[in-house]
Symmetry: C2
Subunit: 258 residues, 2 copies
Amino acid sequence: MSQKPLILVTNDDGITAPGIQALVEAVSTLGEVVVVAPDSPQSGMGHAITINKPLRLVETKNFGSIKSYACSGTPVDCVKLATNKILNRKPDLCVSGINHGSNSSINIIYSGTMSAAVEASLENIPSVGFSLSDFAIEADFSAAKHYAHFIAKQVLEHGIPNSSLLNVNIPKLPLELIKGIKICRQAEAKWVEEYLERKDPAGRNYYWLTGKFVNYDKGEDNDEWALANNYVSVVPVQHDLTMHKAIPFIAKHWKLND
Amino acid sequence: MSQKPLILVTNDDGITAPGIQALVEAVSTLGEVVVVAPDSPQSGMGHAITINKPLRLVETKNFGSIKSYACSGTPVDCVKLATNKILNRKPDLCVSGINHGSNSSINIIYSGTMSAAVEASLENIPSVGFSLSDFAIEADFSAAKHYAHFIAKQVLEHGIPNSSLLNVNIPKLPLELIKGIKICRQAEAKWVEEYLERKDPAGRNYYWLTGKFVNYDKGEDNDEWALANNYVSVVPVQHDLTMHKAIPFIAKHWKLND
């Protein structure tokens, strides 16, 4: 008889966040679950890794009988330590989230949630990052849980092609108002940043990042369109960052002597 | 008469690193240079941004008469603060580096040097990350400087197509042994990680990241091949992480009711 699938769960909001509790509940009937997540919030850490200081791992009881570990590092560190030091076999699935706040479009690039999933897929582990379009700590994760369960089951059954991973975003809606799933591309959008500029008691300036998200993409085949139209967005994501079509342009315009 | 091009210089090894000094020297004859770089080493920070604490900016005298600022944040923070708070016009070019150590292949994903260049290109600023395949603090940057100057000049003259940016890696060789430039794709390679596991004086475990780089790619059109064959590698890099070809596969295999 074959083993139950091994499912690694991580996130970037930290091991005590409601979103990871919801994700563990969503996938716990699908296999043997092990949680390795940051011991503190790590939002916006992107694909950061810890190289100049040592890492700590502490076993926790946050998920009842499910094995779980709090890690002092980033989400990517959690995946690296899990696969190298904690798990005795390669996971069949890695799920990250459920993030408090959307990681659609260009947000993927800043997201610790998504970077954890990217790191797992670099190890050829099918992986999915889940995010709910609601930053509130008291967000309702019930619809997100439903889709996390469905999508994790699909991935365990059908795999994901060519070492890609999935970026899944769930709109802030009750389950009955969500129209379904759209498999789509990443929208072309960006953050227009501003910094609050203030003076500390010693009179020195300091700056707080703020800004607003602007979607320039008019297509109806992208994740922003899907979310705005009450669909769950599923974007397959790759590791190859090469803009292949730019290669001949550059080779033609630069005067290279070879 | 038109203004001199404005060139933003940053890095991830910190404002005092020899590599950024070499890069400033390489581009200083091409336009008006402003340096905004981290006040401490930020290697491995990927696309991390600082969202839960304020940032500091301090004007420095590290580059003689060239305006320069040390920032308490990550390389991406440096670019955001430069474009929002320091520069009074959009730069014509952003150059990042010269990194002490290669950022070829999958290293791009962990690299603060490259993430700074990515962030600038998100602002539609033509941008280039430069890295030398030599981690030593006393590395010889003379060949890297030569190519940084040449490539920055090409980008100012010809642009980079479609909001892409360039990942440039220079082999650890004297200038006369470098055969030229190859415009190429990112190699398929990965890090095989290990963690040193040790006990602290209180008997608790801690872990140090280590590992080795493994290149699985047999092609001769990628950056690892170029570097191994004494060429400077130039990879155009995009922001769209969508694996477009996976969309129909998933849509076909998942049983979606829409």
